[in-house]
């Protein structure tokens, strides 16, 4: 190397920059001026420019032995698996207290009343086999739907539901039947048991609903005891059940226990297409296991029922 002048050493970094095309115009000028009178540096610059050409070749030449398409396909399979397991959740404040909403790619998988954030963390830690990631943005739309519902601005939560957190097929059947209960209606655990073809499994139905992973969206609060007592809700949160039913216009009285006002409700017998006054025929003495009750005519008709042609609830509505 014959680049021994101090001016050559001073300019070395700039020369590399110019040679690789990264220098600003002012630097280019300085370097061009220098190499015009310095053959070794001119040579050096030429070589850096040639090197750029070789690097461009390196960039273009495909790497041997690699198959990005195959690698991509494997990645997609792993991601699909991860997506299936992944649950995103948000924790929000609601009129019913802090609430956790979780969803997967398939639908809403969990709505949970929380005592605290700590409770939320431990609850999530129990979601075996699921990756849980907090993401309020992903669940905020659901939260807004829920607020609308709790403020009476909507009567349905048309959410796709992911029931993989259900513990058994029996529970899934119970939840599916329960999800069809219309807004403003109540029925009994015995009725649900009957509907799933297991009329004696009343206690098992009650247990299945107690562990409903998606309360409100699957309206287990519309299922009550055969005596008309509200009985349990999400453990011991019976006042939440009362609030949800009151919101839907179901009359409730506090006697020895919280109880629906059966005499103030319209009645559907089994799966008939009509609704009746509570006094129609033998309905007063019919067990709740065979009935669905509605808080108002409007609710019964919204569920697709016509007024009974015998008792004519349309002509003689229950007086408040």
């Amino acid at each position: 190397m014959s680049r021994t002048h101090s001016s050559c050493r001073d300019i070395e970094a700039e020369l590399v920059a110019v040679g690789t095309g990264e220098a600003p115009p002012a630097t280019v000028q300085v370097v061009e001026a220098h190499v015009a009178g310095c053959a070794p540096c001119r040579d050096e610059l030429r070589q850096y420019r040639a090197l750029e050409g070789l690097v461009a070749d390196v960039r273009r030449v495909p790497l041997p032995g690699t198959d990005p398409a195959l690698a991509r396909a494997e990645l997609e399979a792993r991601l699909a698996d991860l997506r299936r397991r992944l649950v995103t959740f948000g924790i929000f404040s609601s009129p019913l207290g802090p609430i956790l909403i979780a969803r997967s790619a398939e639908g809403v998988s969990m709505v949970e009343y929380l005592e605290s954030r700590v409770a939320a963390a431990s609850r999530l830690a129990h979601l075996v086999g699921l990756d849980a990631v907090e993401d309020e943005a992903e669940t905020e739309g659901l939260y807004r739907d829920l607020l609308d519902y709790l403020h009476g601005r909507r009567t349905r939560l048309d959410w796709p539901i992911d029931l993989r957190l259900a513990s058994s097929d029996f529970q899934r059947r119970v939840l599916q039947v329960t999800s069809r209960l219309p807004y403003g209606a109540v029925t009994s655990y015995a009725h649900v048991a009957r509907e799933i073809g297991a009329p004696t499994a009343v206690r098992a139905v009650a247990q299945a609903l107690r562990w409903n992973p998606v309360p409100i969206a699957i309206p287990c609060h519309r299922v009550i005891g055969s005596s008309g007592d509200l009985t349990g809700y999400a453990g011991n949160k019976i006042t939440l059940k009362q609030r949800l039913l009151t919101l839907e216009g179901v009359p409730i009285a506090a006697r020895r226990a919280l109880q629906i006002e059966r005499r103030a409700m319209y009645v559907r017998y089994l799966a008939e297409g009509e609704y009746c006054l509570p006094t129609c025929g033998a309905l007063e003495s019919t067990p709740l296991a065979q009935l669905t009750l509605f808080g108002s005519r409007a609710r019964a008709e919204a569920a697709g029922l016509a007024p009974c042609t015998d008792c004519r609830p349309d002509l003689h509505p229950i007086s408040a």
Partner: protein, 179 residues
């Protein structure tokens, strides 16, 4: 049903960047199976973390950073393994640094460049690859290597000097003056 579950913006991230990240890792690992594993791990990590990424983030640079970190951890593991194997065995092949073989290039000149690149110190090699092969800006490279953009630039220039010197006595680069 008003809502479509499962439309995932991450699909667009994979579509846009997987090919490049895989190429980058194939180049720096020089072993296709390592590139497959590391690129897969890069995107699985990214998938778990991308929700926390601000909307303004440079996703491409972020992916390069994840890939680079994984690769550097991977090398540390490799070195440990090789040392352990070398200590346990007198068989020279176990201590053989496996990379950067397998880069039989179609073009002889670029193959020479590849060989010189492979000899570079790690940070210079990574900085050079990200800058000159993938054209990342220096700030992004700096974040990837946990240094400033200026240092990243210095790494790249050091690499260029070494590569040029490495090619100095080879006939592939035309020179003006005989030496």
């Amino acid at each position: 049903m008003g809502r479509v579950m499962g439309d995932d913006p991450f699909e667009a991230i994979v579509a846009a960047h997987h090919g490049e990240i895989h190429r980058y890792l194939a180049r720096v690992t020089a072993r296709a199976s390592d590139a497959d594993d590391l690129s897969q791990e890069t995107f699985l990590r990214a998938f778990r973390a991308h929700r926390a990424l601000p909307a303004s983030a440079n996703v491409r640079a972020w992916l390069f950073a994840i890939a680079t970190n994984l690769y550097r951890n991977h090398i540390r593991g490799e070195v440990r393994r090789r040392r352990a194997l070398a200590a346990a065995s007198t068989d020279g092949s176990a201590a053989d640094p496996g990379w950067p073989e397998g880069l039989a290039m179609v073009k002889e000149a670029s193959a020479r460049v590849e060989r010189v690149i492979a000899e570079l110190p790690l940070k210079q090699r990574l900085a050079f690859t990200m800058r000159k092969i993938h054209e990342l800006d220096y700030e992004a490279i700096g974040e990837t290597l946990h240094c400033s953009g200026e240092s990243a630039r210095a790494h790249v220039f050091q690499a260029l000097r070494k590569i040029r010197r490495g090619l100095d006595d080879l006939a592939g680069v035309p020179t003006e003056s005989p030496r």
